[in-house]
Symmetry: C2
Subunit: 369 residues, 2 copies
């Protein structure tokens, strides 16, 4: 066990006390509500975290890529749901291997030609692939529209002898960050009502609809109240980020149901006037949001990106005591793509580094040579 | 050797014909101008590319992090220049190891206290560290201002018996992307004039000023004409990106001195109406620029990010033949942080995959457990 000050920077810190409290809180919540939790691992890409989620009662793990599915399946994680369509031979051949090893692995489909591809590959391998219909409830990405005959798609899955329909996946990603708990509630209930209605329609037609998967960290406590939603796929709650903290919660403008457990540790490398420069820039934080990282504890300090390896801090108080060599922590703007920049999470409790957990080898995604 | 269509997606493709032509063009340019080239490896983090740059006459390789320096030094690459200050014990102890193994490795300094840190560590290890003064010619990041007594800093380096002053590093990063070749020229000459004057001042005072390093891919053919600039640290020219293509070149609005050699290969996973969705999103492209990826060949198609793993294409022509399973290539918005997202470059010539080159193991940056 070592001290956090010995860590190389920039690096990713996981505050174990906060992380465990986030796990516990979500675990208690879904138990009390009687809804299942299959949390999304695209947030963390980390076997150690998936295991802890399962230990706390999660029924499985969602993943977004075939590489994430391979990582989890190899580690013995079961109950996988691949929430993105697997299209084209390179991915489907890997999917066949994953389902052969972990037969309860589910994958979403939104298109009859993909059903055909999956059926041929599954038949040829002599396996059966459990599938969910990916329903587009307004996210405008993948998924079949509720008006676009999900029934026809269900029937085409029904005819595919090597596929087994299990239900519907309806991820309302466009609502996850709607500002204000009330507005978010109204919009999520509207969106998910389409999924519930589709589920009832297909069920009446005799299709197996045991699963309706929905919810983000922004809507976990909204969708859990919707009759017909059977499981939540929220992921970011384990870490939190600036993005989710800004959307507002049940108790006010700050969404603080879960604690910011993830931060980037940086070193100050320059100080002059009211400027300090840290060794964390475009390669240390995802930049897909309109706002930057926020200091975890310092106030009166704003961050702006200053190239691949640097962030420029402007200090409201030019006499603030920040010197080269000082170590500063920042809450990250958006957790999923930031975690994707690192190989490991350093797990800290107070100032002590208790452990280091591997984030998925990016190379696992492309084992070509 | 395999076909590009067998590669897993999303992945990073390097078009070898274009890459080699970029290498050759820069190599001919610096030879004709009589200026040295020490290209920046923060762009590629790839030993194979650094080796090819050296084979084509580069005098060394610039790096931005201690992990990049370690990677290159272990691979036998010499003539390293670390263009970011190494501050704090964790980095300095690694720097000492790199300089012990590769004694011509240089590092920049901008502060007397850092000079002290480096001197104590070098003395204790019994080595001498070559250093450049990092001069801030307007980038407003690290570096000492020309008005802030670079002479005093040179004298403090002079008193440090285990440091050896070699010159000045003046990276005008704020000018790299100034639009229009003429404007860029005016501004770069203004910025670099301060560096040339500082070099002359320190030289007259008896300090060794054999090196003045400057220039980006945006200013390579501007700074090369400035008397007193001894070497160029341009990096992006090997790959190019949307960002540099937009700044304008000597012949017009498109900067095409170098060819776009790098692209992301994606698979279409959904098609409906005038929308197509590919499997490349926030985790496949850096998002630090205001513009997104551009299709390498298709026209009438715009890209917008649609989450971690997806990009949404809007087709001007709704009858355009783009189907699930199709493979599309995109020029990346900004090369350095995009390369940082991948483990390898697939090297293609036409449709054939000739090789795969490793991009630096992110883990090398933090070998803690």
């Amino acid at each position: 066990m070592s001290n956090v000050n010995d860590l190389p920077t920039p690096c990713l810190l996981l505050d174990l006390d906060r992380f465990e409290s986030n796990l516990d809180k979500m675990s208690r919540f879904v138990r009390q509500r009687g809804v299942a939790l299959r949390p999304h691992a695209k947030t963390h890409k980390c076997v150690e975290i998936a295991r802890r989620q399962l230990e706390k009662g999660a029924i499985g793990i969602c993943v977004a890529t075939i590489a994430e599915a391979e990582l989890m399946a190899r580690a013995g994680i079961r109950g996988l749901l691949i929430t993105a369509e697997m299209v084209g031979e390179p991915k489907i051949s890997r999917l066949i291997q994953v389902v052969s090893d972990a037969p309860d692995t589910m994958v979403v489909v939104d298109d009859a030609s993909n059903v055909g591809e999956l059926q041929r590959a599954a038949a040829s391998a002599g396996i059966r692939i459990p599938v969910l219909i990916d329903l587009d409830v307004g996210h405008n990405r993948t998924g079949i529209l509720p008006g676009e005959s999900p029934l026809q798609l269900a029937e085409s899955i029904g005819r595919a002898q090597n596929l087994a329909l299990k239900g519907i996946c309806a991820y309302a990603g466009h609502i996850a960050h709607v500002n204000g708990f009330e507005d978010r509630g109204v919009r999520s209930r509207q969106a998910m009502a389409q999924a519930v209605a589709t589920r009832e329609q297909l069920s009446r037609s005799g299709h197996n609809m045991e699963i309706l998967s929905g919810a983000s960290t922004g809507t976990y406590n909204i969708d859990a109240e919707i009759k017909g939603v059977t499981e939540l796929q929220a992921g970011s709650y384990v870490f939190m980020d600036v993005d989710y903290r800004r959307i507002g919660g049940t108790s006010g403008a700050l969404y603080d149901d879960f604690s910011p457990a993830l931060s980037v540790l940086s070193t100050v490398v320059h100080r002059s006037g009211n400027k300090a420069v840290v060794d964390a820039g475009l390669k240390a934080f995802a930049t897909d949001r309109a706002f930057g990282p926020e200091p975890l504890t310092l106030s009166g300090v704003t961050f702006e990106f200053a190239g691949d390896e640097h962030g420029r801090l402007t200090l409201r108080n030019p006499t603030q005591d920040i010197q080269p060599g000082d170590r500063l922590r920042f809450i990250i703007p958006h957790c999923d793509p930031t975690v994707n920049l690192y190989d490991r999470l350093y797990c800290v409790r107070g100032e002590l580094v208790e452990d280091a957990w591997s984030i998925m080898d990016r190379g696992l995604g492309s084992p070509y040579f």
